[in-house]
């Protein structure tokens, strides 16, 4: 009698062990990544040109909008100032931000003299000039073009020379 009870207890203990081996679960999920095309900013033309030295100081505005010539101080030079041109590439139809240089961030210099630059403006895809670009997007092919102009603060009696400076713009996906 005692032996029989012992066997019964053993049989009961076996049941959960069989249940263990059959209890499992598999969960499916997805791994995802968004691969973005890097923003490529290529300068086609620099902001450059010629000015005629004069006795009077003043501002020379280089308007980036199409059909606008440099306007302001002094007579026109043989090769007038023109805006910088950019061709950029990025993710198709993606929105991006463009940050222009602030006043004081760029000065054209030559030995013993300088020309401060302020009032940077951009004309995107042939649109009007603005100092606060917004709503920019790459086109369906992931391209865009824009031009950048600025205002040069030209002092009187500047020596004739080549004045050079650099400015930085930043583009980023929104």
């Amino acid at each position: 009698m005692k032996r029989s009870l012992g066997l019964l207890g053993g049989a009961l203990l076996l049941l959960p062990a069989q249940g263990n081996a059959q209890s499992f679960d598999t969960a499916s999920a997805e791994v995802t990544v968004f691969i973005l095309a890097p923003v490529v900013e290529g300068t086609v033309d620099d902001l450059e040109g010629e000015l005629v030295a004069g006795e009077v100081s003043g501002e020379v505005v280089v308007d980036p909008a199409p059909g606008q010539a440099a306007a302001g101080r002094g007579p026109a030079a043989p090769r007038p100032l023109r805006p910088a041109s950019y061709h950029v590439a990025g993710r198709r139809s993606a929105a991006f931000a463009l940050v222009l240089p602030e006043a004081g961030e760029c000065t054209l210099t030559a030995p013993g003299a300088s020309i401060p630059v302020k009032g940077f403006k951009v004309s995107v895809a042939g649109g009007p000039a603005t100092g606060a670009p917004a709503g920019l997007t790459f086109n369906a092919k992931g391209m865009n073009d824009f031009k950048v102009g600025a205002t040069l603060l030209v002092g009187n009696g500047l020596p004739g020379n080549r004045y050079v400076g650099h400015f930085t713009m930043t583009m980023a996906y929104n």
């Binding site: 009698m1 005692k2 009870l5 012992g6 019964l8 207890g9 009961l12 203990l13 049941l15 959960p16 249940g19 263990n20 081996a21 209890s23 499992f24 679960d25 598999t26 969960a27 499916s28 999920a29 997805e30 791994v31 995802t32 990544v33 968004f34 691969i35 973005l36 095309a37 890097p38 993710r91 198709r92 980023a172 996906y173 929104n174």
Partner: protein
């Protein structure tokens, strides 16, 4: 005489007791059962590597840890979408032992865009690493555990832009 009668009564009682021990046997055994609830695994969030800018010339990678940290190597991360670890809700017998099998290397696109070096952590346990690796884990004493899953994304140089996804499986089983 009175003493003799008493002695006789005691003898009779003793005889009856001895007889009872011979005919009735009481013994004990233990019957027990361990009741297991089903082991269930539910995916809560998938593994996400976020926005990645590939390097034009050199292959790179992005690692998402089980703690959700995102670490790029030779690629640049975007800021619009940040990666995070996958999470799973696990239910099972309290404090029971189970095996956790990680996914195998998973391809998202031809050319090498793939995920491997999978890592997992159950609640606050040790990190389990290895593609297709199986390791023993323990269900939380509450019967509910959270599994965090990370991995490493390999990004070929100049990988074409796009949103890439691929399925993978995680399996749990009682030991």
């Amino acid at each position: 005489m009175k003493n003799h009668l008493l002695l006789g009564a005691l003898f009779l009682a003793a005889s009856m007791t001895a007889f009872g021990q011979v005919t009735t046997v009481t013994t004990q055994a233990t019957a027990s059962v361990n009741i297991y609830v089903d082991l269930t695994l539910t995916n809560t969030t998938g593994l996400f590597f976020g926005d990645v800018f590939p390097n034009a010339n050199t292959a790179g990678k992005v690692t998402v840890g089980t703690d959700g940290t995102v670490s790029p190597t030779t690629v640049t991360l975007g800021t619009a979408h940040t990666g995070y670890a996958a999470t799973y809700a696990l239910t099972g017998k309290k404090s029971s032992s189970f095996s956790l099998t990680l996914p195998s290397s998973t391809q998202l696109a031809a050319g090498g865009l793939s995920v491997d070096t999978w890592t997992a952590k159950v609640d606050n346990g040790a990190v389990q690493t290895g593609d297709g690796q199986q390791a023993t884990q323990t269900v939380d004493p509450s019967g509910h555990s959270t599994i965090y899953l990370g991995g490493t994304l390999h990004v070929p140089a100049a990988q074409a832009e796009g949103n890439y996804s691929a399925p993978y499986n995680v399996t749990v089983a009682y030991n």
